[in-house]
Symmetry: C4
Subunit: 233 residues, 4 copies
């Protein structure tokens, strides 16, 4: 497959965006070493762009971002002048990102981290209850738990999609593993990852000394509707 001029420019732009957004993962301390990744769908193409495997965040460059099809297979041309470095493999989590893009056409960005507090809830297999107005705004209810799944096939992707399609939440806590978040674009998925860790931490700390006060479901619905629709986030 040989990209036309328009595609080349689009991919270059998506690579810039995906590369730059990893700085938010380190800014908010959601990742250590190389354990987290951002991807974005290439608009109008059956392609995605994702972090390469094993590269430290401070060393990432746009050219290193890997272009794959929606089955996670790197496309021919990654190594030429237009598409980047042939020596880098896509993130080991690529299959899960790709599954989400295949099955959720409205999703254009996916983020995976092992952020500490979200992963702590995931290790107990416990959903985060919605006891904060900020959480009502962003998540519209609790943050659900997805199944335990091994890496290597579509199990993780399937677990993400099956869990999120029944929830307002753009975040799912994969059991014993960590959070995956989705968005209408990559920046929204990164924001969801940041806010997921924030509410995971705040609700955890609140519960350490007693039970948080529940929020009425009608209030949660009202806050969510306002934030998503009226307020226009």
């Amino acid at each position: 497959m040989s990209p036309g001029p328009g595609t080349v420019e689009t991919i270059a732009r998506v690579r810039e965006e995906v590369c730059a957004l990893h700085a938010e993962l380190t800014r908010y301390e959601l990742v250590v070493w190389t354990a987290g990744n951002v991807s974005a769908r290439v608009p109008g193409q059956d392609l995605m762009v994702i972090k390469p495997s094993g590269v430290s965040y401070q060393d990432l460059t746009p050219e290193q971002m890997v272009v794959t099809d929606l089955y996670g297979v790197p496309v021919a041309g990654n190594g030429d002048g237009a598409w980047g470095n042939p020596e880098l493999s896509p993130s080991s989590d690529t299959a899960a990102h790709a599954y989400v893009y295949r099955h959720m056409p409205e999703v254009n960005g996916v983020v995976h981290t092992h952020s500490t507090y979200a992963t702590a809830w995931a290790a107990r297999g416990e959903a985060i209850p919605c006891v904060l107005t900020m959480m009502s705004d962003e998540f519209g209810g609790s943050i659900p738990v997805g199944p335990f799944a091994l890496i290597g096939d579509d199990s993780i992707g399937h677990g993400i999609v099956e869990t999120l399609k029944n929830s307002n939440s753009p975040a799912v806590l994969m059991q014993n593993h960590g959070p995956f978040t989705i968005g209408k674009d990559a920046k929204s998925a990164v924001k969801a990852a940041v806010m997921c860790e924030e509410v995971a931490r705040t609700v955890h700390i609140s519960r350490q000394l007693g039970e948080p006060v529940p929020i009425d479901q009608a209030h949660i619905d009202s806050l969510y509707a306002r934030y998503q629709n009226v307020y226009g986030q």
Copy 2:
């Protein structure tokens, strides 16, 4: 409304100050993404200056700060050369700030955050007991909880004012929501936000392993009187 020359200079100064103070919120990790805001009353005017909605802290410039009346309505002229950018809306929390300025004439600065430990106490609806000398100095007693209130009308502002008018504390924990702080100027309100999180965290951690030793009310009163009056903070 067309501002005279003196007002233009005053507003420019307040915008600089409000913009710069947001750096203290990130320095002390009181906020993530765009979830916190500082405002200041414009001296001698029925006007206030507040953070625009949805702008990241590292991108804030003085020109982006939004001037509103004391009902939170952006004033005509925000978009001209003197008053800034017409495309930015004021923070979604503007109505609460404005209510405080209308009902507490001695207050010239307001800060809102979702800082982690203060919000954790707020989620349980539990006041922070005064068990630290530093807390006696700054807060003169416990940090009280305000009512659960939905955004969209004056409920939040009313809850803040009704709670603070019966307390020494410049900070209130709005239930399930987070802290609001006030001050004689914006810097004092920011200091109160920083100290609120500091004592929320320290008292939380202390209580994780047992009960803190109470401080006699007479000692709290003595420390508060000295710090506020003699020491001259």
Copy 3:
């Protein structure tokens, strides 16, 4: 009192040192806003140098450091070219530092913070048990609690000295207040403040999930003797 040439140079050097050491308090996040201070005795003089009151850490300059006698009274000449800024008052904790210098001639540096975990133990009035080899090295046993004391006279200084004179520890947790540390020089007192918070945090976290294993007193004594004498710290 007019300082001679040698004294002027010595005081300038001590001011540089005291000013620079405050950067360690912020580096290790032991302080917020202006709530912590370092002092040093001026060698060969009945004088000390201490942080001014109410100045932010990022704004500190050597010239602002205040020279006082060992009763905490600023010396004449602070405002001239040699001795600095006449408008700044010494830290509100100066009386406690001065008391220590008067009563512990071997001490040449004192540090006070409200570092989170140490203050959390102080709020419960509970000594930190010695359950770490690092703590045996540095503190030679538990970190003791000093009495509750109000600011304004010699009560705090007296409580520090009475507690430390019966302990190997260079750190004392003043009840409901926070840690004070001492050293043979100001850098050693700063190191003690850093290590005090480190062991306060680690032992706290260890105890959250059970009881730490005690270390035999003979082993504590052996580690302390080696670190202080053989190893030469």
Copy 4:
């Protein structure tokens, strides 16, 4: 002993690497003051390179790294132009590093820290259970506890080697002391130190509010085999 030209170049390269890797210890906040160290075996020589004792991380230079034999004795020549600074002693933990190199020929890098959460588990003498997929990948099971051992002879080194030779884990928690990690090179040992603290923290936090869900041993084995062999880390 006088090094030949090839050895001089190799040692210079190892010194650069060991010096630079200390920046990862501070980046991930695994160390305070001077309390942690990295070493590497010199390829093809019975020599190792280790941090000097008592030097702050921000002041480290490659020339300061100390070359010792595999009994921890600084080699003649550290002070000449080729081998560095004669005034610096090797880290007080050198004997433990050296013992590991003598008894584990496949190990070429060793790291020691007192990172907070790992040390908290060590203080309770409790192994970290494997309840995270990331932990299965990196550690292949639980992170074991080694014996209490005093500094000054081979007790610490012996405890490290005896514990690690029966475990998949590249990390051991020495009781009441802290973690030591090993690797096929120094960077791998640093990665193990970073990941050890990460899983120590996440599992600790998870257990604060209940019991994490166990992972089947067959799944742990499968994840470990894939990550170490197929994935090629």
